[in-house]
């Protein structure tokens, strides 16, 4: 739920930047006038936040978590440097940095492998999950046949399937991607079905009286309406895809960050372990931010993403 907090902070910042209190979205009740007339000079739209204001908003939402992180980092440095814990267990940030730079070319190669597996798994999970969601939302038969299985399949610990996948598909790319797909698929289906089902029935009635076929209704009404749900599911899915890829590498691989992690573990190479962990987290963070950006571009209109500005009251 940290991202929600981030949004709220961002929204408040954006609102203060435009000089409007965030809470003034609806001043209904006593307000009765409807025709207020277009706000002067803006053609009826609030001014779009400028780049500078956006930067301020981002900075405002980031400084608090950044401060906490800095404090944790300082604590780590202090503990490691004073050797309260031996360095072969907890290396100093300096040692991790040295390992990272010295073995950079190797680490970068493994990072790319894991990144590739993750992205491939995520994209496949998103495509398959959306297709399944559409099938479930549109067909009563498929809803009854598929949905219980999808829900039940979630009970199977997918990580436990990993050895089986290695037996079936060998040590290459395939088992990792499959595992990533299996893990990331579920949140996409659930959010997709919830999104597609959340369409206002009156809108569907309306579409029927407009004589539109199912494809047009899907494209113009149901799919855009499902996007906010779907994007939330995709954000969960992308972080899970990393888990899938790494676990797949644990079980049997000759490259990738999961493989490096096992190697470093066997050698008691704590600095390499830490460097590896940092790179894994970086993959997750970067992909998450990319999905966030996609969300901001796709659904700027949604309640979770807008500053509270209304043009007319009541």
């Amino acid at each position: 739920m940290t991202e929600n907090a981030l949004h709220t902070a961002g929204r408040q910042a954006a609102a203060t930047a435009t000089g409007t209190p965030a809470g003034s979205a609806s001043t209904s009740g006593a307000g009765t006038s409807t025709v207020v007339g277009p706000p002067p000079g803006t053609g009826g739209r609030p001014p779009r936040p400028t780049l500078g204001r956006r930067a301020v908003a981002v900075a405002d939402s980031l400084w608090r978590p950044a401060l906490v992180l800095a404090a944790l980092f300082a604590a780590w440095w202090f503990v490691a440097a004073q050797e309260y814990v031996p360095n072969y267990l907890v290396p100093t940030p300096g040692q991790v940095w040295t390992t990272m730079t010295e073995q950079w070319s190797e680490l970068a190669r493994h990072t790319l492998v894991t990144l590739y597996e993750t992205v491939l798994g995520f994209v496949l999970a998103a495509a398959l999950g959306l297709a399944a969601a559409v099938a479930i939302a549109y067909s009563r038969t498929l809803d009854k046949a598929l949905y219980p299985i999808v829900l039940f399949a979630q009970v199977i610990p997918k990580i436990a399937i990993a050895p089986l996948l290695v037996v079936w598909f060998g040590l290459g790319l395939t088992p990792k991607v499959i595992l990533a797909v299996l893990i990331a698929f579920f949140p996409v289906v659930i959010s997709g079905v919830a999104g597609l089902r959340s369409t206002d029935p009156e809108l569907l009635d309306l579409a029927a009286t407009m004589g539109a076929g199912p494809w047009r209704t899907f494209r113009k009404i149901r799919f855009p309406n499902a996007l906010p749900h779907l994007m939330a599911g995709l954000k969960v899915a992308v972080t899970l895809a990393v888990v899938g890829a790494v676990v797949g590498e644990f079980v049997g691989a000759s490259e990738g960050l999961g493989y490096v992690l096992l190697l470093a573990n066997g050698n008691l190479d704590a600095p390499l372990l830490f460097a590896d962990l940092i790179l894994m987290s970086a993959i997750g963070i970067v992909l998450f931010v990319l999905v966030e950006i996609a969300e901001a571009l796709l659904i700027p209109w949604h309640a979770s993403r807008r500053a509270g500005v209304s043009l007319t009251t009541s």
Binding site: V35, G37, G44, E202, D205, T209, G211, A212, T217, L311
Partner: protein, 264 residues
């Protein structure tokens, strides 16, 4: 009941409409033997207590709900599935929240595959007529309830439908906005000559707007009486409100609705 007699010039014909909903435990009759003929250009308002099946009646005319028995015809053709020759306005504006006001109005054109330039011109006319000028790009959440309902009305009128069905369109608005919208709807009806069927809870709204007021009973919904409204075709809101004929009819309706509610 036999099929609606195909009289020439009937915009909507309903004959012996009965609707029963069966739930697991019980069967309820929502509408019971409703027959009503509406001429082109009429403005028929339907009043009745909550849950009397008024909305169901509109949905049957639109072809969205099938009656258990009875016949409906729209523009002389029997209603079998969802009808395209109508504009429908709900109590909620039911706008697409990712589209601006103008784009929401143009949804009608896109869904129907209407000619783009023609639709755009028509949308601009409607925007001007309903006082939405300046808010063309505003998203629904940036608009007040009244403005949202104007957008919904424009959307329903974009394809110049011969019949407009309105299901408590102003029910969620405050009293002042509602009066304003009533006056506007009256003007639009006069200017376009559309046949309108409007379902409402408000006696004042029913009398001010209607050329005929249909009163329905509580569940099961039946037509108790139909009143012709003896007011001039061109009505001014303030004048109508102080007109003795308005008072008389409103009193009659109130009495009838009171007794209708008390009997059930």
């Amino acid at each position: 009941m036999t099929a609606a007699p195909a009289r020439t010039g009937t915009a909507i014909g309903m004959a012996g409409l009965t609707v029963r909903f069966s739930t697991r435990r019980s069967q309820t009759t929502a509408l019971d033997d409703v027959s009503l003929d509406i001429e082109p250009g009429e403005f028929v308002t339907i009043v009745g207590p909550s849950g009397c099946g008024k909305s169901t009646l509109l949905k049957i005319v639109a072809g969205l709900v099938r009656p258990t028995s009875g016949e409906v015809s729209l523009l002389e053709r029997p209603v079998r599935g969802p009808q395209k020759e109508i504009g429908f306005v709900f109590q909620k504006a039911a706008l697409l929240e990712w589209r601006g006001a103008r784009a929401n109005i143009l949804l009608q054109a896109e869904m129907r595959g209407m000619d783009r330039t023609k639709a755009a011109r028509r949308a601009d006319e409607l925007i001007e007529m309903t006082g939405l000028t300046g808010f063309e790009k505003a998203l629904p959440h940036e608009l007040s309830g009244g403005m949202q309902q104007r957008v919904a009305l424009c959307r329903a009128l974009l394809h110049a439908p011969p019949v407009l069905l309105m299901d408590e369109p102003f029910g969620a608005l405050d009293a002042l906005t509602r009066e304003q919208m009533n006056a506007e709807l009256h003007r639009i009806w006069r200017e376009t000559g559309t046949t309108v069927v409007l379902v409402t809870h408000s006696i004042a709204e029913a009398v001010f707007l209607g050329t005929r007021v249909v009163v329905m009973s509580a569940r099961p919904g039946r037509i108790i009486r139909t009143f012709p409204v003896e007011l001039p075709a061109h009505r001014d809101y303030a004048q109508v409100m102080s007109d003795p004929r308005f008072d008389r009819l409103a009193t009659d309706l109130r009495g009838l609705l009171g007794s209708a509610a008390a009997n059930h």
